[in-house]
Structures are given as structure tokens and as C-alpha cells.
Subunit: 270 residues, 6 copies
């Protein structure tokens, strides 16, 4: 187990469990949070042993979003010149975005397990994960609209690819809170569970299943789906052909084939 | 209240209610319709007092689509040279498209409230709105296929971003009529209501809620969602960072924060 | 009826029924399959009489995907130099992709009627069709992950445009099998049927309906929906305007209009 | 001859000569300029008789760029809220850009004939023209950098497609003045002339040559070159195929062919 | 030596010399030309022994462009319905484009050696080659404008990437003939030679030089330059990283390194 | 002056002079080089005092490109599985690319001053700079082709935007060495100088000129030119409008205007 200031990491069965760990602050995202998450996902990316990531929150809630003190501090650092303030703010926003890009670009699948509040910045975060699962009483809200601003660390950019356009706009304009079942029906989460224990059971079972697959194949699959979010079908076909030109020479295909023939579970190298 | 030939406009509570007003012609879209809608949405865009738009149809139906007389007239204006006819038709189509682009590009959210027929050109129109709500007995049909043509003022361009690809093709190839509940299940509308009175109640309640938010935040949110329909995630992140570089210096954040602290409703300037 | 080695074609009522015809091999996709499908869809594209295509599988299943012998053979053809192998593999993959591109780019709508197994390469194939319908007990699985590879003939490229992003990743990472009803609920198929007889009845009724529409209008509609999968809304609007500049001068509009006036069925030339 | 406040238009031999006509202000671009240019180019676009446009400046210079009074006025209209100011400025810039987009999107070729100063906004303007020709002593400077701003009405957007990247940056960062011969060597103008009389002679000879070509062919050619500035080669090929599907049915091909056979000059309808 | 109807092929020193061989018709591009060129470049692509291609014309000229009889025949095949004609023409144009796409997409570098006339379709052809060299008295003209049409088999699509925007438009609007030296100064050709003998000497020397390089490296280089014509820098960087992931495992790097150390010429496998 | 292992930095007059400082190794790019350059450009980006960067090489040459020992070491780290090797190589290449992306994305203009050898990786490096200037006897060569590989850290991606397509291919396929004057004539450098002393004089004069401009305006200008390398004109216009919405509220415009009125040099804050 590795302890960070805003997180706790557990590694077992090739699964890294990343827990947001500021329960006394409803897991609000403070300065530690934004810098540590980059470090953590760099470590995950470089650690061959980790094949899948589960992301959850300690305590009663997943996360209440960005820590308001962080915003207050950013505001206090502004000077008199609007142009230079703009440049400073622009770079600050790009830096916060980079924290969640680290999740999006991670080569291993990242599964979000959500219970309780998932508000504002927390929606930006889960939009950068591969898949989302939640408890029935989870509460989701694009809270930024009530802070007088347009969401700028990923919700407005990634969520329209995940849920339908019409409902996306309703939720973004109103900040309306939705619960688990509605989240599932619009495609925000893949499945709901009765409570957090069942949620973690379900999500870890899924994670174990993915961890047993060929890591070469999983990474290629993730890269391709990510690529298709922003590219044309013909470009995607050309890209996978180039990618698989190398990867189909990997031993994993033979391991998989042998396992298939012998009706046994394949065992892939990290 | 402002009267146009094909529309009637009511402005109250910062909400502009745009009513298609040719009930005796099932609100068919005639020449007045196509030119007035541009004027109306230019006025909406420039009028700070208007924060949200509700679009509905007078009488028993939302709209039966383009007025067939308009098509007949366009046909009668063609000459002998296929090339010059093609150029004329191309410019005519671009001009009709511009009428609905005015809706799509309007800086304020546009909510369509649909009852009765919503056929052909009416589908093109609601595809350019932000969100759609309807009565249970509303009837939707991509009618262009039965006029021997591919829809060219927005349905085939915008609807695939709103509903799923597979059902999009079924509806476009067959012109099959669907009603409220099916429209909701495929994501064409966000919600259905028992009748038109309930529909307008629901839609105006939603409009009032949006009208109370920071107009700076609402416009930024709309611009970003529109932008993401056609751009990459990385471009979207860079664009919002540049946008918010200015907008986060607005007073609206302080107003929102103060209201949040004092548990009161914020009051944002137009 | 035309007999191929891996297919059987029936043409009636302007509908080409393309049947994968290797039931003794669970319709596995062998070398004949990959080359004949290109020929067949070229013929379909060039034969004016064909207006719609129905694609189904002979025997108990739609198809179990790529023939493993084909993979084994490709592996056996590799030499010692990794670079030259990569080039050979890349070209082989591009060539397999071309077989399904022939389906995707076919100017006539292609309807997949799926029963039984639809595994691995079969998912790539139906992702290239316009619409999908299945029996309740059909079984779908992105089987490539269990062969130690990322799917490279279309599933990862086309399916994310058809089903939601979150479920796409779950299915691609796990290879989990889903049946008819779940396939429908995530948008993979438009409708399910109790058994294969009902499925074919339903699909042929749909095909007949489409076959009666103006072929000029159907092709324009298909081209536009295909175009929008990869292009911006503004580009799509410009493209349809250019397309319809010619097509609105077709006789089909007059035929449609006359039929509309006389309340009779229009009869369009091939 | 048509007189505007900031322009004078002469129409002869199917050539519209658009003259910036504020010589006493070095043809600085005032409010009249920005609105009239839109009107003028709309008229050009809609007037079949006009086949080519020549754009030049009255008096000793082409133009000194934007009128500084206009900037001062825009500054004076700003209020206290940075966010609302930003929105106002953004819309103002978009509106100024629209004036030069009208030149860029004009269906007829626009030839700029430049003598004397061509500074700041004037570079933005000629970047939106099809071709540029100048006197040897013409003086070009991307003057915006000395006004403390990045050029925002077209220079930074269109000029990099016209001149080389390395020299583009040098000129934009320094605002260095270059004369005719250097302008020609970097591709900014196609040719230089000894003085303004020779320049206009040369440019009008070119304009007459273009005016004698098939207007259908010229418009198609311009549209394609404009399209290729921003699109892929494969998209461009598909677009021209769709475009020419109609245009090759024009009488102009037969007129051209007949003229070719009889060795006479073809005479194309407007 | 292989004889085709419209071509003659010579293969020596790993260089395929493709000669357009209808000197009595000024190498006009007839039906044989358009179909054989596809066959030839497929053979080149698949023949490992061929590493470079030189393309030239037999007789006094490179080529006068498309055979007018071909156009006349296409015109004679049109029927009465404008829409169906448009569809036929569109497919015909796409088919002609495919002939030159075969040149553009060929994995081996293609060098055009041009003398005498290079008109209309011949410009489309050389725009699809990698590099162009010519005699001083070669004559280039975008002749399509004088046939009343916009060039549709590649000139307007590929040439703007090769020569500057301003001169591109002048040549396309006027059809003006330019000779060798001007062609060189605008970047259309890389170098001029005094006469055809010197031209072929120079071009074959260049071809031999390229033929001695690693074929794996040459193909990767060509693919990347082609890719960058239509893609973003960041996409290009990602693509080459994926490509070289396999190709850097080739033996060619070791061969090159060993040759470098021993100061000898490397000898690469086909 | 700051000393790194592979570099030396001098800061004066708001200009950072970055000198590659391994003259005994012909400034070959070793492991220190690739990591330190990222650090250095991060420092430049964050240090307000630095407004412009000059990049040059110590000793007789600019740089001979990547250190061959680095390549040898990368090769020695590969294992047995082709797939895992491919993944490792891909990430290694992406990491090297990131070093030059740091130059490309730096917010301040970077001027390369080149003398002597500029080979292989050095071409990749200068392609990421804003502008290039050289001595007459500078020698440029895309040396990667002679190492049996396609250039993968920027040359093939960025250079085609800087020099013409035809010459780009000739240089990339042959690795031919060109000197200063030819480099200038194809647009690779903006200007040549007689020797290194004159080169540095010229380049520092240019750097001082840029350093005196408004830093807000310079950064906006650089961002826009960079943006246009990969985006459409309409997107570029929208982006600059959004950018300038904030930046035109900067004090720098007033400083510039006041200086203009008083005919004095403006003095802009960092």
C-alpha cells in the first residue's frame, strides 16, 4: 500500500486500486490531488505489473469536485492587467487539464467505482476513465454551471462522446442531479449496484477478468478506442494496421491460441 | 408580443417564446418562414434580455415541414442548362440551410416543444435546437425520402450526432413515423408529456431554471458543446482554456460564490 | 441464384439476399470468403436492379468469425526480418479490411439479419452494415481479445460510432457475450425477433419498403450518413448542397410529387 | 460607376473594379469600409455579369490598414466586467472577420493590385484575395505587432498558406517592411510592375483573360482551390467528383469543344 | 521489357522505367492508358525487386492529356435523367481518379521525367508523382479551363500542396503555359536539364541513388511524407512512432550501421 | 550563465542564448541532451524575463545529430518478444519526440543559428524552431535514410510545412547535403551570412528587435501561426477571436498606441 496525501494506492492481483482519500473533505480536489494524480498515473503507466486500475473514493462519497479554496487562491493571484491574467489563467487551466489527461492517456484501462456525491470536477474525472459503475444512490451533477462558469477540465469535452447530445445539454445547462438508474439509462455508467460493497465486488471481478487478458492486446484495444474518439474510420483502419504489423508478431497470439486448443486459461507475460 | 407573418414572439421572464404561427397550413414552412427565422434569431442573439428560447407550433401540430409550393416554385425557376441550374439549386439549398444555422449558432439555448406532426423540414429544424421535448402523441417522420430526395437542410447532418447510427438509418431510409415514447427511447427527445399544456409547463419550468444561471456561463457551455460536435478532445480542451482565460475574470463567479456562501439565489446581470 | 464457394446469392423483388454458406464450419471466414465478398459487393454496386441487400448466415449461426486456419497460414508465411514481416502483415490487414470496406462503401443499404453466433470477425462485418436485426438468442462477442490481439478489421473503428463509449470498452476488453435483448438496448441492433423465421420476415419486409423508395434518394441518404460519420456538420451541409444540386434535377422528385398528389404508390426507375 | 462612402465601383468588360476611395486618409479602413465591403461582394456574387474582380486603392497607396479611430471607439465602448467585455470584443472581431470572409468566399476570382502602402489590415485583406500583383515600390508590413496585438482579421490565418512558414514568422514577429521584389520572391505577389499604370494594365489584361473563360469552370476551379486549403486530398477528390457530376452536364463543355475544333474563341453565357 | 497497349516497361538496376507509349497520339490518355496504369502500379507495388519508378513519355512529348475521344464517348453514354447522369458521371470521375491514386499510393518513389508537352491530364498525373524533373523547353498548362471544366483527376487537389497558392490560382484560372525554368522557380519541378538525354541521365542517376537505400526506410519515409500532406503534426508524430516500433527492429539498421563503420556501401535485401 | 552537461545558457537583454555544448563530439545528441533540453525550455517558458531564444552550437558545427551510442544502447535493451519490443520502442520514440515538442510548443520565438554540420537529428531540431538562419558553408542533410530508417523525431512531420513538397522528398530519399544558399532558396533558412560571427550578429539583432515588442502580442502571434499549421482557416479565425477577446483588454495596446502617438519606443512589461 502506498500512501499519498490525497490518495491511497493498493496493488494486488495486477490491479491498482486508487482511492481518493480525503473523506473529511468529501474528497474535494485540492492542490495535492491535482499533482499527485499525475505522479500516480505515470507510475501506473510504467509499472508492467499493473494491468488495470480501479478508482474509487474513501468515505461516504466519491468526490465533491474541486476544492473551493484552490479556486479562491487562483483568483487571489491575479494582477491588474487583464491580458497577463488571461495568460496566467489559461496556463493554470491547461495544467489542471493535464492531470486528467494523465488518466485518459494511461495505457491501462481505468474503471471508476462511484458512490455518493460525484459533483463538478468529479464528473470531469470520471469522463476521463474507460468505464463507470455506480451505486443506485450515487448522485451526479455538472455543478460548474452553479459556480458561474463553463466546465473546463474535461466534462464538456469528453462527456458528449459518452452520453447523448440532448441530455448532455440539459444536464450541463441546469446542473440537475441524477441518480444511478438514470445515469445508467443515458449511458453515463454501464451498470448500477445496490450498495458500495456490491459495487466494489462487481468492479473488481471485472478488473480481474481484464487483468487476465493479454496486456499487449488490451493496450492496443484501448489505444484504438481512444484514437477513434477523434479520428476518421479510414485513419483508424490504417492506424490499427500499422499497430498490429508489430503486435501480431508478439508471443501472446501463440499463447492465446495454445490455450484455446488445450481449453486452458492462457498465462500472458506482463 | 411581436407579430411576424409566419411567427409570433412573446418575451417574458427572460424567455423568448417563438411560435410558428400558420396553424391553417399545419405550420408549413413558406418563404416568410425561412427569412423571418433568420431575423428573429439575430434579434435573440443581440438582445441581452433574452436568455433562453422556447420554440413551439400554434394549433394542432408543430409543423408539417417545408411548404410544397416553395419547392414547386424553385423547380419552375430552373432553366435549360444543367450546370447553371445546379449552381442555382446549390445556392438555394445553402440559403435554406442558413436559416437553421441561425438556430444552431444562436448563443442562447433553444428548447423545442413538439406536439402533433413534426415532419420533414420540421425534423431538420429541431435537430438544430439544443434540446427537444414532446407530447406522447407527437409524430416524427423524416419525410424527405418520400419526396424522392435526400434531406438537405440539416437532418442527415445533425441528427446522427443525436440518435444512434443504426436507428438513424432505419428512419431515414423508410420515413417511418415514430411517436413520443420511441422518440424518447432513442434520444431524439429528453422527455415526454401527456399533452401540450403539460409539455409547455414542463418546458417553461426548465427554461426559467436556465434563465437564472449566469448568462456568461451558459453561453460558454453552449459554445463548448457545439464545438465538441465537430472537434477533437485536445482541441476542445485548448479552446475552453482560451475561452475561460477571459471568462473566469467575470464578476459572475464572485456573484455565484457569494450566493453559494449565503445560501441565496444568485442574481446575474444580463 | 448465384453460388459462390463461401456464399449463396438470391435476387428477387430488387433485394439481393447474400447468405454466408459454410454452415458445416459455422460460417467461419476463410480465404474464399474474404475475396468473394469483394466481388459480390462490386456486382451489387454495379447492378441497377439491386436496391437493397440482406446479409444472413446459413445453418445454426450467423458466423463464428475469421477461420483460424487463415491466421495460422499467415503466421507460417512470416520470415526472419521483423521489419519485412511487419510490412507484409500491414498489407495483409489492409487487404482484409478492404473486404469489409466493400460492404461499408456499397451504395445500396445493407441489412444484417443475425441469429446464433456472431463472434470476432462477424462483429467487424456487421459493424460495416447499415442496420442490424437479430433473434433473441443471438450471441455477440468481440472475440479478438481472447486471441491475444486488438480487433483490426473494423470493430474497434466502426462500432464506437454505433454503441455507447462506456459499453464499447467493456465489451472490447472482456469479450463478454451478450444476447439479443442487451444488443438492442445498447443500440447494436434495432430490433429483436423470436426466431430466425420471424427475423427474416421482418427484415425482408423492411427491405421491400426501402426497395420501393427512389433509388436516387436512398443512395444520397446513405452517402450523407456515411459522410457524417467522419466529417463536420458544416462540411456535411456543403456536401449535400453540392450533391443535391444535381440530384434535385432528377425525375424522381416529380414521380414522388405526382404519386403524393394522386395518393398512389410511386414507381421509380432503377 | 457606383459610389459608396469608402469605395468606388466600375463595371466594364465583365470586370468589376473595386477601388478603396479614401485617399485623403491613406485609404484607412473605417466603419463604412467594413460594412460596405460586405454589401459590395454580395452584389458581385449575385450579379451574373461580373466574372472577375480587381481590387485597388485610390491615390498614392493601397491602404494603411484599420482606421485607428475605429479601435479607439471599440475600446471606449468597453464596460467594467471583463467577461462581458470579452464577449463583446469576440463578437466585434468575428464581425470584422466576416467582412474579409466575404472576399474570400466570393465565387468570382478577386485580384489585388497593390501600390504604395499595404499595412496591417491591408495585409489581412489581400490575404483573402485570389492573387496579388504589385508595383516595385509597394511596401508591405504586418503592422499589428507594433500595435501590441496579434493580427486577428485574417493575416495569421491565411498568409501561412501563401508564403513560407519561416519568413511568415519573421515578418509577423518584427513587422518588417518588405518591397515588391522581396514580396514576389516569397510568393506574396505573383509579379511586380514598374509603376501603377503598368500594374493596372497587367492586372486588367489578366482579368480580361479570365473573364473570357467559362464562368461555370472558373467558379468550380476557385471553389476547389479554396476547399483544398483546409481539406484532405481524398476529400477533395470526392468533392470535385460530386461537383462535376452536375457541372459536366453544362453546355459550356460543348461550347469549349466546338471552339477548340473551329479554332475560334468560345463565347460562354454568363 | 513488358509491352502494354499504352505503355512500355523496362526493369533494370531495381528501377522500373514506365514509358507512355502512344507517340503518334502525343501520348494522349485513352481508355487503355487509364486501366493499364492501375495494373502497372499494382505490379510495381507487389514486385520486391522494383525499388524506384521513372515515368516518361515516348516521342516528342510527355503527354497532351486526356484523349478527347474518351470525353466524347462519356458524353454519348448519358441518358435523359439528370440525376442518373450525375450518378454515372460521378462514378466515372472517381474511377479515373483511382488510376492516379494508384501512382500516389504506390509504396515506391515515382519520379516524373518531363519533356515537351505536359498538358491537362498530364499535370494531374505528375501531381501524383513524388518528384518532377524536366527539360528547359518542357511546356506545362492546366488545360482543363479551356475545355470549360474544373480539373477533376488531381491537379486542383494535389498541386496546391506543391506550388504556392497565388501562382496556383493564376495557372488554374488562365491555363497559361509555363516552361521549364518558371516551373522550377515555383517548385513544380526540382531541376531542369538542357535536353531529354540529359534529363534521363540525371533522373536515372537519382533513381539509382535511391535504389541503393534501405527499401524499408524509403517506404517508411514516403508513407510519412504522404501522411503529412493531410494530417496534423501531432498525429504524424504518433504515426511514425507506431510505424518505427516495428521497422526499427529490421535488419536494415544493422546493415546500415555496419556499412557506416566499415566505410563501405550497404547492401540491403529487397 | 547556466551550465548544463550538454548545453550552456546565457541570458542578456531578455534573450536566452542556448548553446549546444559538446564540441568535442560535434554536438552529438546524447542522453543528457535529450533530457536537459526539456528542462531548459520549461525554464524558458516559465521565466517572464526571457522573451526570445537563440539556439546555436559550440565549436565548428551546429550538430551532427543523434549520438550513435544512444541508438546502440536502445537496441541492446530489446528483448525477445517483438510485440513488447515494439511497445518499448514506440514509447522511446515518443519520449524523444517530446524533447523537440518542448521547443515547438515554447511560448517564446526560437531562432536557430546554424553553421557547419546540421545533420540527421539536427534537422529534426531546427524544424521545431520558429526561424532558421545559417552561414553560407552550413551543411544540411536528412541523414536518417543512411541509417536505414525513416526520420522519427520531427523532420518528416514538420519540414514539409516549411519547404516545398518536391524538394522535401528528394532530400529525404537521398540524404543529399545542401549548403546555405540552396537552403535559403528552398525556404529552409530565411537568410545566409558570410561566417558565424556575422550570423550571430544578424540573429541577435533580430532577437533584440523581437524582444522589444509586446510579449503578449508576440505570444499570441506565435500561438496562432502554430495553430494554423494544423487547423482550418475558419477554426483559426474563431480561435484568434476568442484569444483576443481577453488579450485586447491588455495594457499593451495602450502602451503601443501612446508610443505611436509620441513617436517613442514603447516599453512593455514582461
Amino acid at each position: 500500500m502506498i500512501e499519498y496525501k490525497a490518495f491511497r494506492i493498493e496493488l494486488a492481483d495486477k490491479i491498482a486500486h486508487v482511492v481518493i482519500n480525503r473523506p473529511e473533505k468529501v474528497n474535494a480536489m485540492n492542490a495535492d490531488f491535482w499533482s499527485e494524480i499525475v505522479e500516480i498515473f505515470r507510475w501506473i503507466d510504467e509499472t508492467d505489473e499493473v494491468r488495470v486500475v480501479v478508482l474509487s473514493g474513501e468515505g461516504k462519497h466519491f468526490s465533491s469536485g474541486i476544492d473551493l479554496q484552490l479556486l479562491a487562491q487562483a483568483a487571489s493571484e491575479l494582477g491588474k492587467d487583464v491580458g497577463r491574467n488571461a495568460e496566467r489563467l489559461r496556463r493554470k487551466i491547461l495544467s489542471l487539464q493535464a492531470s486528467f489527461n494523465a488518466v485518459d492517456l494511461c495505457r491501462k484501462p481505468v474503471i471508476a467505482a462511484i458512490h455518493g456525491y460525484c459533483l463538478g470536477g468529479a464528473i470531469d474525472l470520471i469522463s476521463a476513465c474507460d468505464m463507470r459503475y455506480c451505486t443506485e444512490d450515487a448522485q451526479f451533477s455538472i455543478r460548474e454551471i452553479d459556480m458561474g462558469m463553463a466546465a473546463d477540465v474535461g466534462t464538456l469535452q469528453r462527456l458528449p462522446r459518452i452520453i447523448g447530445d440532448g441530455m448532455m445539454r440539459e444536464l450541463a445547462y441546469t446542473g440537475r442531479t441524477i441518480e444511478g438508474e438514470e445515469a445508467r439509462s443515458i449511458g453515463l455508467v454501464n451498470r448500477t449496484y445496490a450498495d458500495q460493497a456490491a459495487l466494489l465486488d462487481g468492479v473488481f471481478a471485472l478488473a480481474r477478468e481484464i487483468a487476465e487478458k493479454s496486456p499487449v492486446a488490451i493496450r492496443g484495444t484501448k489505444e484504438m478506442i481512444r484514437y477513434m474518439r477523434d479520428h476518421r474510420v479510414d485513419d483508424g483502419l490504417e492506424y490499427i494496421a500499422t499497430w498490429n504489423a508489430a503486435m501480431l508478431q508478439s508471443a501472446d497470439l501463440k499463447v492465446a491460441m495454445a490455450a484455446h486448443m488445450s481449453k486452458q486459461k492462457p498465462d500472458f507475460a506482463d
